[in-house]
């Protein structure tokens, strides 16, 4: 038996052979493209570029609903977020960014695209310009958050000598990074198409819009940096000398005017719809021939790239999913919108003698306001997707007592009646009840009116607008004002304000810093500008000064750019229940501070530029720390 086994084993050894066939073993990997393959055709190279586009970094975007609605412009109606209204500010590391991996990939792309032989000259030029646009955009993002950063424009290679110290680069000056962005913009703007229909790839319009914003930021840091001398570093890594301000303002105005005058294509304000509020909301969801939008992050249904902004923020009542209502714009923000005659006024809730103002319709209190208010905020009594929102806090009886409920649409028996009926809105507001309009408001901007956008399984393909014509007009208006050209500034402001339905044109004498800052606040709200605007004007520590707001203070100084905004307030509508009296079924409004709002935000001097991590500084001791941390 044993013999048989041995002989079989021996025989099988004999029939085993090895092969020496190179073609058989040396196979190309099927899950990865080699460099040669990538650069063999424009389509392959474009997909690499597509990945680089996908890694574009924004702070406030529809992909991050908290970052887009921070700084007490809204209350966050989600139980897990209440802590943000109970603490006193932000970590030094907040808003930090330091992705040199992305910069390396961009540099590698530029290097390899330059060497590519299979691309024709026009394609190559465009790809190169696009990659340089993305690189400049990311350096812009870095300089906004961290101040001057090392400017790495070539892919660094390690020589494996055991000593990588030669790869350490110090931080560039803040102004040098801005200069780099502007120089790149000048170089690439004419290599990109002037096409208003191209929104998600770099165009000449996108470059000009970025350059005007960057020049404006640099200019205002130079001018207003003198107000906060402690926010500087002696090496210029943070802070720009005030002597450079005028030069940057001139550039900002120049780039903006190039774009406004049509040098990059026929961009204009979006003005397609007669209802001005609807028109304003449409800027963000109308993807067909939108003349205002310049550069976006685009999304597409059923492609894997969608976002759930509408899911998490849709009005809760009758929503397509059992959630929504997270961003509740604050009363502070709602009151910032002017009356149609350019005056600032708080929403009238009480008469001078302290008695409440009675309104016959729930939305009457918002009458005669800037159309952008209803275009940005879902007010009580308005509609979304054809369904009226149900925002009201309860009944007030003739003796002043309140009947309300603790659940959405709760029912109780009113005095003199026998049957229970609804005593609070299905959208709240109920103090501490998440996903309802706790401030009395929902957000409208960036909510997608398409059917299904509120479903988790479908989501939304609404784009996120990074640059639009309205902002460019504001950049021009601000730069013109700072250069003393108030007439020109008023002209740009008025074209924007006419679209918002404001009836009286501003004159040169009306233009001042507070006006400009206010216009940006209401026009560009919830688009990711708030932090950077507060920072570059060096007023963040005044707006977020850590002191709580009293109800009287809430209504004062509405026109001041430095008005304290440390806590979000609410406005709750109550219905009067007093049968057989004149006020029966009328509405009154009460200013409320939610019980979840206990902290007051404080923006520290160390928050102006985000903390650079200790691991980064350990690896590269040439990096100097940001001030006041």
């Amino acid at each position: 038996m044993k013999k048989t086994i041995y002989s079989i084993l021996l025989a099988s050894l004999g029939i085993c052979w090895s092969c020496n066939d190179d073609a058989f073993l040396d196979r190309k990997p099927t899950n990865i493209l080699t460099e040669q393959q990538v650069w063999s055709s424009p389509d392959q190279a474009l997909s690499v570029l597509g990945d680089l586009y996908n890694r574009y970094v924004d702070l406030g975007t529809v992909k991050n609903w908290t970052a887009i609605s921070d700084f007490n412009e809204a209350f966050w109606s989600e139980a897990g977020q209440y802590g943000n209204f109970q603490n006193t500010g932000w970590d030094y590391g907040a808003w930090g960014a330091w992705d040199y991996g992305y910069i390396r990939d961009l540099n590698l792309f530029i290097q390899k695209c330059n060497n590519a032989t299979a691309l024709d000259a026009a394609t190559k030029d465009r790809f190169l310009a696009e990659a340089r646009f993305l690189r400049a955009s990311y350096y812009f993002e870095l300089v906004k958050r961290m101040g001057g950063v090392p400017l790495i424009l070539e892919p660094l290679t390690y020589d494996f000598s055991g000593d990588p110290t030669y790869l350490r680069n110090p931080r560039a000056k803040e102004s040098e990074v801005y200069d780099f962005i502007l120089k790149e913009s000048d170089d690439i703007k004419d290599k990109l198409p002037s096409s208003t229909s191209e929104k998600s790839r770099a165009t000449k319009g996108a470059v000009l819009a970025m350059a005007s914003r960057a020049a404006l930021y640099a200019a205002s840091i130079a001018r207003y940096g003198t107000n906060t001398p402690v926010v500087t570093l002696s090496g210029g890594e943070v802070g720009i000398p005030s002597s450079l301000a005028t030069g940057y303002y001139n550039k900002a105005l120049g780039y903006a005017q190039d774009l406004i005058s049509g040098k990059a294509g026929a961009y204009s304000l979006y003005n397609k719809k007669p209802d001005l509020s609807e028109n304003f909301a449409s800027i963000f969801y109308d993807k067909a021939n939108n003349p205002e939008v310049i550069f976006v992050e685009d999304f597409k249904l059923q492609s894997g790239k969608t976002h759930n902004f509408t899911v998490v923020n849709q009005p809760r009542y009758g929503a397509e999913e059992e959630e929504g209502g997270r961003i509740n714009p604050s009363l502070n923000f709602v009151q910032a919108f002017e009356k149609l005659d350019n005056t600032y006024a708080p929403l009238p809730t009480t008469n001078s003698d302290g008695t409440p103002v009675y309104y016959s319709g729930i939305s009457d209190i918002f009458a005669d306001r800037d159309a952008r208010l209803a275009g940005t905020v879902i007010l009580p009594g308005s509609k979304f997707k054809g369904r009226a929102v149900d925002i009201w806090a309860g009944y007030q009886l003739a003796d002043g007592s309140i009947i309300s409920g603790t659940d959405r649409g709760a029912q109780k028996v009113l005095p003199g009646k026998t049957l229970a009926e609804q005593v609070v809105g299905f959208d709240g507001p109920i103090d501490g009840f998440e996903f309802t309009a706790q401030t009395g408001f929902y957000l409208r901007k960036y909510l997608d009116p398409a059917v299904g956008s509120g479903q988790r399984g479908v989501q939304s393909e609404m784009w996120f607008v990074r640059y639009r014509f309205g902002e460019v007009l504001l950049n021009a208006a601000e730069a013109a004002f700072e250069l003393g050209q108030k007439d020109l500034s008023a002209q740009y402001m008025n074209s924007l304000r006419a679209r918002a339905g404001l009836t009286k044109a501003l004159t040169a004498n009306d233009i001042n810093f507070d006006r400009i800052a206010h216009e940006r606040r209401v026009e560009l709200a919830f688009e990711g500008h708030t932090l950077y605007d507060m920072k570059r004007w060096r007023i963040a520590h005044l707006i977020q000064d850590g002191n709580s707001i009293s109800p009287t203070e809430l209504n004062s100084e509405l026109d001041k750019a430095t008005k304290r905004n440390t806590q979000p307030y609410s406005l709750w509508p109550y219905r009067i229940y007093a049968p057989n009296t004149a006020n029966h079924d009328k509405w009154i409004f009460k200013v409320v501070k939610l019980t979840r709002v206990t902290g007051a935000d404080r923006f520290l001097m160390g928050n102006y530029y985000s903390r650079i991590g200790d691991d980064i500084i350990s690896n590269n001791p040439k990096i100097v720390r940001n001030p006041n941390q």
Binding site: V230, N619, N628
Partner: protein, 232 residues
Amino acid sequence: MKILKYFVVLAGLLLVACSKDNYVAPSITLKGRIVYGGEPLNLEYSQVGMQLWEPGWGKLAPIDVTVSQEGTFSSLLFAGKYKLIIPKGQGPFMTKAQQGSSSDTLYVDLKDNQNIDIEVTPYYLIKNAKFANEAGVVSTTFDLSKVITDANAKSIERVSLYINKTQFVAGSTNIAATNLSGANVTNLTGIKMSVNVPTINPDQNYVYARVGLKIAGVEDMIFSPIQKIQYK
């Protein structure tokens, strides 16, 4: 039955833990105060921070040390040689150069529990603060003393009287406050301020009060000692 016994024995074996591979917890306390003229400074809770650095090994990262309202701090550490620094821009004071050195870095050779007082120079001090309570109004009288009067001197932005339900009394934690802007402070002695006590829910018959001074161009405020005020 036997099987059950084995199980008990086996389970017993599993319960035995060994202490050999566990790290020792830090056990040495470094305590101290931020003082001027031997008196600790009154600051805002958790707003003034210091950093402890232990160079020599690993990647560098500071251990944060925050200073309490009463100007004290404490940290539980391992033995070692530390550098204690107060980062620029922290605190309503100027740091002093340490003995035998041109910088304000304090070298701490930590072998045993240690108590250190860090001497600094505040821009201002609030002195002789007296509080009184009458009919729902907390009033105070106090003096200010300007400590730094040379080229580094800074002006007063405002003086604030804060009251709170708990003993954490400052700009971010108060139930009522009154402010007096620096322009209206003409005489540094005998300054009077008062604040109305709002309705407190749930009711309590005491509040904590203190006066704070905001120095122009300096982030952190300096305070008077906290006083508990009984009423009713």
